[in-house]
């Protein structure tokens, strides 16, 4: 019997075979490196080279690869595929709450355990794990559909590249921090002779250009650029997504009104980025990798880039399906999936639930200022909360946790920093409020299109 959406086809199995073969070759080289570098461990009363474990792993990969390359004649009964239990676990974990919580926790773990994670062996293990995850997941039809969409392929590549460079930067930063602690010169100062640009730089630029051209041509041949049906103004595809690099912003639209998510917050992001050199008063860490000399700057920037930008893009691209509902990576995109989205405004919660009375409404046909006064009364709680957030918190921050910052930065620079931080924090705060108490708007004045 044939499935309509087969998890495995002969072509997929064959392709995965090549992927495993590539991993086998990579790990074969790693065995050589491990044999030269890693040394022995003592087990069963004798010295065993660490490389032997890698050799074992590489051998398994090789056998898996052969199994794929030869066993593709009966895809339905092919055994190597992602177990359903793991699929269910991942689907369950991709709810927006857990997704955001996990990405934040992951971020904290990376910062906290950086010295452990930056060793080459750890990096290699992480790379292998992510490759294995990807290849195993490819055996699922729905996962394959979403990941191999031509416009999504660069995002998958970006995840690997961002991960690698984050690892690399931490590797260098940890090494420099260690050298500083030991009183040695940092790595960027060692072996730092002047060399001529021709040939040292010009040649590497040339090689880079040739390699990139080849890479782009190969990519262009393998993957065709997407082209859908001709445009029609009346038929909105479901789901409709912005270009992938704006999906972080589109995700914010779930939690904020368009004027905040589409105009104010992006402007704040840009202004904030431009303001960075003028509010960073820390003279250290200029021109080399370090973490300990500027932890606040690095944690803030990385938090903005990794969980709030890259992770949001992943979420918007891979996990948002029809009707902008949430779908796990192995879940079928069902147009009729029902999800309750009954959110309440702060004013409704305050007047109806706490005060047990109807929302204040201006008498019919009253003057505009009477109506305006009633609107202010209706939204008074939200307005007070917002004003307190924007105007009360910065002085409190200056007096408590950011005291030393305030003293070093002066009033204006500190206020800029504090406001940028508050705007950045407003996104996770609003998300948490939405999930915790189904809050829709803190201030809701649809009469004047002003919703917060």
């Amino acid at each position: 019997m044939l499935e309509h959406h087969p998890d495995l086809t002969a072509a997929v199995i064959y392709g995965l075979g090549w992927a495993y073969l590539l991993m086998f070759v990579m790990n074969a080289f790693w065995v050589k490196r491990s044999y030269d570098v890693d040394g022995n461990c003592h087990m069963f009363g004798q010295a065993i080279p660490m490389a032997s474990f890698w050799a074992l792993y590489a051998a398994v990969l090789g056998m898996v690869s052969i199994a794929h390359l030869t066993g593709s004649d009966n895809p339905q009964s092919f055994l190597i595929r992602m177990p359903d239990a793991i699929k269910d676990a991942f689907n369950a974990a991709s709810d927006p709450r857990t997704f955001f919580a996990l990405s934040t926790i992951g971020f904290i773990v990376v910062i906290w355990a950086r010295e452990f994670l930056v060793t080459p062996t750890m990096g290699w293990i992480l790379l292998n794990l992510s490759c294995l995850y990807l290849t195993l997941s490819m055996t699922d039809y729905d996962f394959r559909q979403i990941v191999t969409k031509p416009d999504n392929v660069p995002i998958v590549g970006m995840l690997f590249i961002v991960g690698f460079f984050t690892w690399l930067s931490f590797n260098r930063a940890v090494e420099n921090d260690r050298r500083v602690a030991a009183g040695q010169p940092i790595r960027e100062r060692e072996k730092n002779e002047k060399v001529l640009v021709w040939p040292d730089l010009v040649y590497s630029e040339l090689i880079c250009m040739v390699a990139l051209t080849a890479f782009l041509i190969a990519w262009g041949i393998v993957l065709q650029a997407p082209l859908e049906e001709p445009a029609s103004g009346a038929k909105t595809p479901n789901p409709s997504k912005a270009p992938w690099y704006f999906l972080g912003l589109q995700e914010m639209l779930v939690y904020f009104d368009p004027w905040m998510a589409g105009v104010v917050l992006p402007s704040m992001i840009l202004v904030g980025l431009m303001a960075i050199p003028y509010i960073d008063f820390n003279k250290l860490g200029n021109g080399y990798y370090t973490f300990k000399e500027r932890p606040f700057a690095i944690i803030t920037f990385m938090f903005g880039f990794l969980p709030l930008w890259v992770a949001m893009i992943v979420l918007g691209t891979f996990l948002r399906g029809p009707n902008w509902n949430f779908f796990g990576p192995y879940e079928y995109w069902d147009v009729h999936k029902l999800e309750l989205l009954n959110n309440v405004n702060l004013s409704e919660w305050f007047w109806l639930d706490v005060m047990q009375r109807p929302l204040p409404v201006a008498p019919a046909n009253s003057e505009w200022y009477v109506q305006f006064g009633y609107i202010l009364l209706r939204e008074s709680v939200g307005i007070l909360v917002t004003l307190a957030y924007l105007f009360l918190l910065p002085p409190v921050m200056a007096a408590t946790i950011f005291r030393s910052f305030f003293q070093k930065m002066g009033f204006i620079r500190f206020m800029v920093l504090a406001n940028l931080m508050l705007f950045m924090a407003s996104l996770p705060l609003k998300m948490v409020l939405r999930w915790a108490i189904n809050l829709k708007y803190i201030v809701s004045i649809p009469e004047y299109f002003l919703n917060l």
């Binding site: 029609s232 103004g233 009346a234 038929k235 909105t236 595809p237 479901n238 789901p239 409709s240 589109q250 639209l253 779930v254 009104d257 368009p258 029809p322 009707n323 902008w324 509902n325 009729h336 999800e339 309750l340 989205l341 009954n342 959110n343 019919a364 829709k440 708007y441 809701s444 649809p446 009469e447 299109f449 919703n451």
Partner: protein, 245 residues
């Protein structure tokens, strides 16, 4: 760097200049000063930026309002203020600023086209009997972006009205789901009842009604240039719907 490299490769040329004794130049004679320059130059008039802006704005305002009210007296006053209180230098700068500003505004205005190739805003959609009770008609959605809704669920009245097929969240086109009896927006999942009132998702307010009336020939006529928003209390407007009796 360059010089050092040259020295290595062309070593046979001796550096003559370096070997020679440094020559001490005789002191320069004092510069003759013309007698007129000895008198102290008058202090240039420097006005603060605030003053300049005040003067410029006041005179421009006089001039513009004079033009609007066609009062030569006021325009003359503007010119007078400009030329008496502005230093020539500042007047020049203010003129440049004004011209730049006007040019920018003009360019911005240039970018707004006056003629648009868009569908007409008034059109006939057939007799009211085409639309049975409690149905949503998708017939005109592709062409004009509206639904014709006939329902008695809004405040218990039996009405026909035209809803604009533009989601109030971000302007996607929602779909009418007959089974679930709701409008559902594919972009961010906003949901609206058959009445057009929002009940789920991020949409901040109900769908908009556009103008609907019974024309002289008895057919329903939609006027998309009129729009009626529920939260502004405009749905009570008789032009926003047609009563079915």
């Amino acid at each position: 760097m360059v010089r050092a490299a040259r020295k290595v490769t062309s070593g046979e040329v001796p550096a003559k200049a370096e070997a020679a004794e440094p020559v001490v130049a005789p002191p320069m004679p004092a510069k003759p000063v013309p007698s007129s320059a000895k008198k102290k130059a008058p202090e240039p008039v420097r006005r603060s930026l605030g003053t300049i802006i005040t003067v410029a704005v006041t005179s421009l305002a006089c001039f513009v309002f004079g033009g609007l009210l066609s009062s030569p007296l006021l325009m003359g006053l503007g010119v007078l203020i400009w030329f008496t209180l502005m230093s020539p230098f500042m007047a020049a700068w203010a003129s440049i600023g004004a011209v730049t500003g006007i040019a920018t505004l003009g360019t911005a205005r240039f970018m707004f086209p006056n003629v648009l190739v868009e569908p007409p805003s008034k059109f006939k959609v057939g007799p009211a009997s085409d639309y049975p009770l409690n149905t949503v008609s998708n017939k005109w959605k592709d062409l004009f972006g509206i639904w014709i809704v006939h329902t008695d669920q809004y405040e218990g009245k039996n009405l026909i009205y035209a809803l604009s097929a533009v989601c109030t969240h971000l302007g996607c086109t929602p779909n009418w789901l007959d089974g679930e009896q709701k409008f559902k927006c594919p972009c961010h999942g906003s949901g609206f009842y058959i009445t057009g009132v929002n009940f789920e998702g991020p949409a901040p307010r109900p769908l908009e009604r556009v103008g609907l009336r019974i024309a002289e020939d008895g057919l329903l006529e939609v006027d998309k240039s009129l729009k009626f928003q529920e939260e502004m209390g405009q749905w009570t407007d008789p032009a926003s719907c047609v009563d079915v009796v």
